[in-house]
Amino acid sequence: MFGLKLRRPVLALLFALTGSFFFTGSVVEVAAQDGASPADQPIGRSVSESEIATWDIDIEPDGTGLPTGSGTVASGREIYDAKCVNCHGPTASENPGDTGINPNLADRYCCATTLFDYINRAMPYYAPQSLTPDEIYSLVAFLLNLNDIVSEDFIADAKTVPAVTMPQAAHYGVNPWTSGVIEQPGDPWSHDNP
């Protein structure tokens, strides 16, 4: 009886010891070859600024990220008719609230840089990131003019686009309730009409 009781712990101990011996042996072997334990392989890799630049495509409201180049309203109209009109329609207002750009641009944008950023990253739908900076600047000029935000002679470039004041910009704000930073106001179970 005494022997039976002990058998399991002894076996477990034996297993643990041999297991650890084998394991230690293999680690030492690898360490002797490579100078480090396999577990010490670094996670992740430091990247240089030039590597980051190839991935970093966003354009910020102050113009950070905008490339050199420029475009006119007239050249933008040509590009629009060639590459955009199929989805967005001849006046860019054919599908309001969906692919409609006019008057969304006046009502629903706080920054003209957003327009450059979005066309650059996502348009045209069938070939995103295929447009040149000059083509994008041209489209920005054309669409801003179409929405009566800039004049016919506007030339879009890295300086003029961030300087455009979008009509809706002053009306942007944050609803503290829906952004989750305050407690629920009022009585959520009330049926009183607002």
Partner: protein, 444 residues
């Protein structure tokens, strides 16, 4: 019994004769000849001979399952196993493909919760929304770039992310467009649970907390926002507040025990539990830390609240408390099927754990507690049931939930006042069972 080949052949012929060339054993043969088969097999076993059933009956294949007679399955050999499992041919589970706006191509699919048994959505039934379709990403080429306001900009492979300390969570997530808001002061009478809950799903997720990555790159203390960007053709990008990224953000690579499905972000997606789904970037490729919002199209033009009074509210990302009675729900007809003996539904809070669900069967005059089926987990769907039988009369069925963070599922009136748009509409939903058995959606 002799054991030469001639005898074996004659015995095989006995079976061949039953069903001609196909070797198929009919039910009649089995019933009539069952005793002979058993006696023959027993004698063969006693002699120690190998029994090769390939000579006696067709090899079962996966298709046997489809072809078999279903009235008496106990009289037939069943189907062979398959490497990838299948649902019963009697179970028809599908997502609902959706084409949004004027587009001619599908941009998503929805989960029909009336088909979900329990709270975990099977991976192939999870809802999806895309802005430029589903990208095909070779995991060996996948890279995540983390840079901006950090001490050490870094790039991570999929293997890197999987070697970091993992966490496992059950989370529900929902599209900003989930829910069926009233329009013009009226609810959609014909709406179904697909309308009010279809742009949401719930899964078990495995991944690495973003905090781990943020510590590796050493995010600078002055950083208040980060841009998260996707691998897809839309390069979908959103600005996220730094507190959410430190406290409650994950890079998920496992979903319901398998790699994340392509439509849900393979190989790695961001998951921000409780925030509208658009912020939980699928196929994440880049995180740039900053001290300001980036004003991307999806946070200025779309996914912002453009109110009728001319104001635009940004960053309405926080999802609230919701509950839905799923059985019965809109579009069903209780006169056409045996009516349910209990109400079943789901509840969820984007803030924390569901603390309670109440049911009213009298239009909101009296309320009784529903039974919650645990475990009740934070930011995860919770199943509830409530004993109820239909008496054949017109009756209203309403559920309302609250959570352990002090938030309540609000009325339509409250939402109209305090959150005229906001993320994921979660107004208290009432189904009316008409005396005809038809179930419709009513205001309250």
């Amino acid at each position: 019994m002799a054991k030469n080949s001639e005898t074996e052949d004659s015995e095989l012929d006995f079976f061949r004769a039953s069903d001609g060339k196909s070797f198929r054993i009919s039910r009649r043969m089995l019933l009539g000849g069952g005793g002979a088969v058993v006696g023959w097999a027993a004698s063969r076993a006693a002699l120690g001979q190998v029994y090769n059933h390939d000579n006696l009956m067709p090899q079962p294949t996966p298709d046997t399952y489809i072809n078999n007679n279903t009235d008496t399955p106990w009289t037939q050999a069943g189907a062979a196993p398959t490497e990838v499992g299948r649902r019963s041919p009697f179970v028809d589970l599908k997502r609902t493909i959706e084409v949004s706006g004027s587009r001619i191509y599908a941009t998503g699919s929805s989960t029909d919760w009336s088909n979900i048994i329990g709270t975990v959505t099977p991976s192939d039934l999870c809802f999806e929304r895309h802005h430029a379709g589903i990208p095909l990403i070779d995991p060996s080429k996948y890279r995540l770039l983390v840079h901006g306001m950090v001490e050490r900009p870094m790039e991570f492979t999929l293997e890197d992310l999987m070697r970091l300390g993992a966490e496992k969570h059950f989370f529900y997530w929902e599209c900003q467009g989930n829910g069926e808001p009233p329009r013009g002061g009226k609810v959609n009478e014909n709406s179904t649970i697909l309308d009010s809950l279809g742009r949401s799903s719930a899964c078990e997720w495995v991944g690495v907390p973003l905090r781990t990555i943020m510590e590796l790159v050493n995010v600078k203390p002055e950083s208040t926002w980060a841009l998260v960007e996707s691998y897809d053709g839309a390069g979908l990008a959103r600005s996220i507040d730094i507190d959410k990224l430190w406290d409650n953000a994950y890079l998920m690579y496992g979903q319901n025990g398998e790699p994340v499905r392509p439509e849900n972000g393979y190989p790695v997606r961001l998951l921000l539990p409780g925030y509208e789904g658009n912020t939980s970037n699928k196929w994440i490729r880049r995180i740039q830390f900053s001290n300001r919002m980036f004003q991307m199209r999806e946070e200025t033009s779309r996914y912002a609240d453009h109110l009728s009074d001319g104001r635009t509210f940004q960053y309405s990302v926080q999802c609230g408390v919701r509950s839905h009675i799923i059985t019965p729900s809109g579009g069903m007809n209780l006169a056409e099927t045996p009516p349910p003996r209990e109400l079943r539904g789901m509840a969820y809070s984007g803030y924390g754990k569901i603390a309670g669900v109440e049911i009213s069967t009298d239009g909101g005059t009296t309320w009784q507690m529903a039974r919650l089926h645990g475990p009740v987990l934070p930011k995860m769907a919770t199943m509830f049931t409530f004993p109820w039988t239909w008496n054949g009369e017109t009756v209203k069925l309403t559920s309302r939930a609250w959570d352990n963070q002090g938030f309540k599922q609000p009325t339509h009136e409250w939402l109209a006042k305090y959150a005229p748009q906001g993320a994921s509409y979660n107004g208290i939903e009432t189904w009316q069972v008409h005396s005809s058995g038809r179930v419709t959606n009513v205001w309250s």
